[in-house]
Symmetry: D2
Subunit: 409 residues, 4 copies
């Protein structure tokens, strides 16, 4: 790609690649086996020994917390642009990000805390998170309303003396299945009478607070994604000290604005890695199988799909790098069109590439023997989480319409 | 639709609709609960009491074996065209077909037996199948080869004296997870030196034969579809009497040809029913949810998708009815272009409609709380089973090319 | 197709096919040459001798005015369903419809007059039109407003004593380029203060009325479609007797409603014929050309496109026949969803098929040496005329939304 | 975009932009009028006074021969990457490139001569071309064969003594309609018995050589693109000195390889400019028109199309810049995958965006009153010229397949 990676990134990428070759790819079977054993024993909601082992190795190798754009006590400090190829690589193996303490939603939560938390909040929650001791959840989406419009969020955060009393029902709280998940960032309404964008606030809610119930896992096309999980969580008169608020009452939107950029672009970087792997698998399968007298790889119908995959992947990668660079140079807010664009482009692209790879594999493609069906389920879901395509397209269009309207003034 | 259904069909359709209203829709929750209870207890591969109960009711109501185009001892005798709207209705609830003894692969197996089996074979296997006492499997696809080209099938059927010795590995043997599944129709090679289309034969293999191992279930996007299941089956020196052959050695292709038409069109009819239900769910959700100040149903982006869904569904239905009519009037072989066409059109259409419905539901759409993700997984798989899109498109194109070449002679 | 054509239609279709073989296909070169000669001589807006010659032959052969669903003085009386295959055939050669007095907009105008005109109006205008002596125009679309919303139409029709005074600017008045075009049906506002759907009326305006100026031809992707033409027409204080109104003041919408169905479905029938011809040309070209060592016809990428073309054409044809049957049996108004559906489906389908055929021809495909570029230009325009896709999709969606809403009451 | 343009380019771009504002956009009407006057007078194949006037101004402004990557006697020397935004700007007005002596096929021909011609050939042909005194043609495509496979080219170049005798029929020889077109580069076979890629050679053929007949213009969707033109040219025993060969006998492929990169990427840069302009026109129209009670710009169906347009344009631009950078840094041959990719992506993208813009304009969109139909015709043709999509996709796929095969060795 014409914007060559920085020397620092090239070096990191090389080391990360070596780590994958040595520790990640060879352990895909073990990961599956450990999870399967837990599942067959009746409880998949446990930390896998493999992950804990590899975290130690990764940390020792200096491959830790690379996601964090602004350094915190010596951690992170890698720009979004530099992080992009690293994150793309992690997209090739669904569970690998956690090994490097770079998995969602912890990354978004840590960045949120780094930006908006008080020193006390940082010490209490950010540091153990950066340390990989605990995990976290982000409780935003609600089953009862169209949460794509965040003003719809109904969860109530009512102040009573020195406490907030929280009542609400959240779902698709990803990561809340992990037994180490200790802290939730909860979005809810502190003032229903305030202007639309000042009604919502974010508060820190320890998972073990009274009134918190992690009700059940939601599935994604049949996958529960244990032990991570996408959970339904009930908050029933949960009480937290007022100090647990982030930034201040009514500033939930402001945080969401700053927070969502990085989370979205990380999803996109991983989508690109997933698409690359799917394309490799597609090519390998086509070269390995013969039908009607010749290898599938010689059929021009597959040439078209391979070529389109390559064109789409490279375009999406360039668009992601461009968005990352914008975030680094002009900030998440000024880069909102670029972030919205890549949030639409990347998962749609990867869904398409993965779908072709499935078709190239025949029935094997939808089965557990290949990673493709699981990848599709995940990529399809990315088109919904952190805002469905429609919301992002509307945002892009409105920026475009405003630009032209401005030229006519 | 301009070809109105026959009076017989209209009457059947009305009765079947009433049955759905009374017995199927109200029991969707119970079906889920029974399966879930088995699953949590550690073995989902059991017959559900609900199904057994409803089979009695359906049979008493005369809604039994409607799929069978040629009557056998008073059963069936409904044309493909007349069966189409009934089968479409069953497509709305995945598990409903079995209630009427109209579920795959038993329907295809029963029709195969009705057409090609000897009287002894019919008495032994067809009659208990028509009676709903046992279930059956069809063992064709193999993990080791591109089974879309049936000449690739490697399973060996070697004659030794009065027996066939069968060795092979099959997978995606649907229905083989059911504990009542008692008989397999196995496709394999009796003569590797014969002309390409005379190498394969079909034999009847009792599931309890020595050397048969139902190894494991395959999943479809994370669903195991228990208790039906898509199983991997190993045949290790399985011995059956030579009388177990269907039609004769080397006639496997001939049977496949005759067999596959109905199986394919039934899939398509159900795909249409699934798409109709998904469209209803999409419309209902869009009318129920408000975002950015107005119901989603008022957004023109959704008008486009609703309209395109309606256009695609109605076209696919007409094409299916046309193919069914061709099968009834000129036979499965002469209707091969029409069957191939609908096999491409229907599941692609339903995948698209279900995918839009998922998007309309947001995260709920990929979860277990709605039927959509499961429906997508199934419809996506239909694009592969009984021949992937690519094989059918090639067949259609070759017919088209030959037609024009003929005009130039 | 499963709804076999009636005996009458089969007989007509056979005769029409023979006419094409004998008189239309062999004269495509002559048509081109006559028009080209006029054009090079400086005025292509003349009646071609070929058309006049063939009209005599067609009429003598009883192939005349077949479009008219309700017989008028012995003319027409063929149902929409029966007319469909005849009209499809005419779609194969752009100029052929006029030979049978079945060309737009005369067909729509004649049907409008047959339905809504007074006896005097019929005698004055319908009879010479049915006789093929004159041609007609339909002046609806205006350059100044989004005419897809007919309530936007601004042309003023003001009553003064026994006359209407008409002022407006219309464009894309198809057929107004023909020197024999003698009568316009003009849509305009008689009462700007009436309820939205009662403001518009239709009046008959002789082309030679004072104040009528046929200003210039519009082109369609570079084609002027002479001598038919798509004209801009200025109406400057044009005066016509009040008797020239159709049906009555404020009833323009009502007429438009009844009128547009047949016009739309005729376009669709011809679109299907155009797509069939394009598919034939695509196949022929692919079989005739060799690249990279084998005929293009053996490339699986072309198999996909041929197969998709066949699937799309057959589906669109069935949908058209269904809509025609609905119009015949329940009326144009009750069939409005079906008409809207086919109006979206048919030209989009034919654009796609023609586009693939162009690609199969390489540069030849966009040139004047093949009919394809011209066909594309025409089919692309059909997606706009008589209502753009978006308007029809909205109509379909609203019907669908209303259906579901009704089930919840 | 994250790869900011160089200071030199930014400065050039600013000057070129100013030139467009002052001399190009305000003269679009005059260009149309001059051409129209010639056309009405019977001969559009003349140089337009406007072009000649503006060439003087552009040259004086230092906006001349910017396309040339390697400087020749002080001309050019701008890298492909730096030229990209300049060329994109020229894509906004079809006729503007010639004003800057940057129009195809002269650019490709000049670059070919700069790279491969002898000093004598350069002096005779390159210098007047760089000077803008003459124009040139490139005669490759033949009507009789699938020219997408260049080994099919049949034109015969037979040596007789000190001359080559050339016989062949070429078409879509763009630019050959211009009366100043003085020199053709002709591709043909010097040795039919040589290995496939050594059979073809390129020779310089003066347009006024005996035996050269510029037969007729081909149209593109009805446009003749006068005075530039896409001509059919017959070469009937044309004789040129052997010195007129480029590089040597049998080296036609080698030249084509080196030549086609820049030509292709220039097309793509202009396609992006065309798409940008179409998007602006789409937005403007949507904001100007009201239907069904609100501006079209508020319909979410148009938000989707605007957003998709922006996403596609930005991705295509990044991919083009990347390809240009590759050409600059590793050479046209090593960048062949990147060139093939953008050659597929850019015109397909611009066709889609222009098509949406047409739909936003209603009937106006297909007419001569807006530039859109003409732009569509041109962009659609780019999908065929310099290799159809299919050939480039195959090339991309083969590179991808080879990459994976290499990892398995």
């Amino acid at each position: 790609m014409f914007a060559n990676h920085s020397t620092k990134t090239q070096e990191l990428l090389q080391r990360l690649g070596a780590f994958f070759d040595q520790h990640i790819y060879p352990n895909e079977g073990r990961h599956h086996a450990e999870l399967d054993a837990y599942r067959r024993a009746g409880n998949p909601w446990q930390v896998l020994p493999l992950i804990d082992e590899l975290k130690v190795v990764a940390r020792a190798a200096g491959l830790w917390n690379m996601f964090l754009p602004h350094a915190y006590k010596g951690q992170g400090g890698i720009s979004n642009l530099d992080y992009a190829p690293l994150c793309e690589l992690m997209g090739r193996v669904s569970w690998s990000s956690e090994v490097f303490n770079c998995s969602a939603p912890d990354t978004g939560n840590m960045e949120t805390l780094e930006r908006y938390a008080t020193d006390a909040q940082k010490q209490r929650w950010l540091e153990p998170l950066l340390d990989g001791q605990i995990r976290s959840g982000f409780l935003m989406t609600e089953p009862a309303v169209a949460s794509s419009d965040a003003t719809n969020i109904q969860c109530s955060i009512r102040r009573e003396g020195d406490e907030y009393v929280i009542n609400g029902r959240k779902w698709f709280s990803s990561g809340a299945g992990n037994p180490r998940c200790a802290i939730f960032i909860v979005m809810g309404k502190t003032d229903a009478d305030a202007p639309r964008h000042a009604q919502q606030s974010m508060v820190l809610v320890p998972r073990d607070a009274k009134g918190v119930t992690v009700l059940r896992p939601l599935t994604v096309f049949g996958y529960d994604d244990a032990p991570h999980g996408h959970m339904e969580v009930v908050l029933d008169n949960v009480r937290v000290p007022v100090d647990n608020i982030l930034l201040g009452e009514g500033r939930g939107f402001e945080i969401a604005q700053g927070r969502l950029g990085p989370g979205r672009i990380h999803h996109c970087m991983r989508s690109i890695g997933a698409a690359e792997r799917a394309l490799e698998m597609m090519v390998d399968r086509l070269q390995a199988r013969v039908a009607f007298g010749k290898p599938l790889a010689e059929q021009s119908i597959w040439h078209e799909r391979i070529a389109e995959s390559r064109c789409m992947i490279d375009q999406a990668r360039l668009l992601t790098l461009n968005a990352a660079h914008m975030m680094d140079t002009v900030g998440n807010k000024a880069a909102k069109a670029e972030i919205a664009m890549i949030k639409v482009v990347a998962p749609n692209m990867s869904c398409k590439v993965v779908d072709w790879a499935i078709q190239a594999h025949g029935a094997a493609g939808v089965s557990q023997d290949f990673w493709l069906a699981e990848a599709y389920a995940h990529q399809r879901t990315v088109r919904i989480v952190d805002g469905p395509d429609e919301v992002h397209r509307n945002a892009i269009a409105k920026i475009e319409l405003a630009k032209r309207a401005a030229t006519r003034r």
